[in-house]
Symmetry: C2
């Protein structure tokens, strides 16, 4: 198991700078974001990664597949747009040789991430939204299979259920993945999202080789006003990492451990110091 | 199924005022808080409730049972104090004739509700904290049985796992209750806390007559800065109530439906208007 820098942790860095940073700090892998790849250019990104010899532990992200739950033509258009965007994300993941494409499946149809509820034009049909995700996956998984890309379903903390992911537990992600070959659809274990789950250890064992990505960061308490930024450096929050790392290893996971932190203080700090701290904390609190 | 006013919804009202309010608005039941009962005096409260002919749908709350997870003598003292306080709460519930005593089990040992993590003196041992709850329950359930009081385990939304309740899902609460007779230990279904749970409907059916209390309020989006106050009037948030109400009824629940709202705007409003709105919304969005 090796350490990987998810480039959103050092958000100020461009892709080129993040690649240089990984090399400078002896990290063998990097987790990429589509926005950063687009800024650098896809083929230029591939060149930089190859010449640095870096593995791409994941590409973030596809998903937002629930819009089809809106009524009538609007729903149909939203569903088609989401599929098209996700096929492009699969193509990019293939080009980059990413170990997986992370899917954040989307919230209630018509609810926009981080925004207030609209007066009309959204639905509270949570069960229906979850069905839309399964339908979209049935379209995308075979395409990903053809492209040699593994989709990785990411359950998000229930606090994000209204607007970002109706996929709320590892068990639910696992069940959604089971109809597909494990090389086509896996699941993400992100400590921030799943640390509280009373079924976590049972579901990690059950997931086994379906675990496509292991992401670590701490859960801060109290959460900041923008709950999206409550992801902290390992050791700064409430998570006991070692038992989770041990369980993921025992399940047969052989991939990289990605550190993905969304945090105003971390983003304001010198990225080289952030990476140095990340390496120390990884050894001190994450590794068994 | 009848509507009950949890008195924290009209927090400005004293117990006497809340009892009058229930009578004025034709509500047959009220959910009480120990603080409010203490302000009014226990025997005076009993008198007021009897003369008004009100049922007490629940008493909030006992719990905070995890302090025993602190090391050494400190842990032992915290555990003994918690048991003592909970026995007093059972006595009060018996005196008030409450249908159940709601237990909010407590968070990680040493983490105080709503406060920042202390520099030292807390533990990240979540599994251990959950074991402490089971141990405390083994002490309290027989005592509650002797007093004719039913304990009601309340799973809280995972956002409160660090500081208020390591009990995070209905399924987990149900499993914790199973070693005890169902008249001694039941579970609470509070829509705010469980609406997101992919196993909700399965677990409501499994809980059956173990459901000791059904509480409703909406889940606001986005949550306010103080996440404790994200409980909204039914219809103001993202919850689809009817399927949940139907499932609770189908499980055999015959108790009251309590409306418990923690919300700065609701608390600032005229309590009589709040109760009137609550009655309308109950009919419009909660009842099947």
């Amino acid at each position: 198991m090796s350490l990987s820098l998810n480039q959103w942790t050092t958000r100020r860095w461009s892709l080129a700078e993040a690649v240089d940073g990984c090399v400078r700090h002896d990290l063998p892998a990097i987790g990429l974001w589509r926005e950063k790849v687009a800024e650098q250019g896809l083929s230029e990104s591939v060149k930089l990664l190859r010449s640095a010899g870096l593995r791409v532990s994941s590409l973030c992200r596809g998903g937002f597949l629930t819009g089809g739950g809106l009524p009538g033509e609007e729903g149909k258009r939203a569903f088609a747009r989401a599929l098209e965007d996700n096929r492009r994300a699969v193509d990019e993941a293939a080009e980059l040789g990413a170990s997986c494409l992370v899917l954040v499946v989307g919230g209630l149809p018509g609810v926009r991430p981080g925004e207030a509820l609209p007066a009309t034009g959204f639905t509270r049909d949570l069960a229906g939204a979850r069905e839309r995700v399964a339908e979209a996956l049935a379209e995308l998984a075979p395409y990903a299979g053809e492209c040699g890309v593994r989709l990785a379903l990411e359950p998000l903390h229930p606090i994000y259920c209204p607007d970002r992911a109706v996929l709320s537990t590892l068990g639910q992600a696992l069940e959604l993945s089971l109809p597909f070959p494990e090389e086509q659809v896996g699941v993400v274990v992100d400590t921030f999202h799943v640390w509280w789950d009373p079924r976590l250890f049972e579901d990690i064992a059950r997931a086994g080789r379906r675990i496509a990505s292991f992401q670590v960061c701490d859960y801060l308490h109290p959460l900041p006003e923008d709950v999206l930024l409550g992801r902290g450096m390992m050791g700064d929050g409430v998570i006991d990492f070692r038992p989770i790392t041990e369980a993921v290893l025992a399940a047969g996971y052989t991939g990289d451990v990605e550190v993905e932190i969304f945090n105003a203080d971390v983003w304001a700090a010198d990225p080289d110091e952030v990476v140095a701290t990340m390496k120390t904390r990884y050894t001190d609190v994450v590794l068994p």
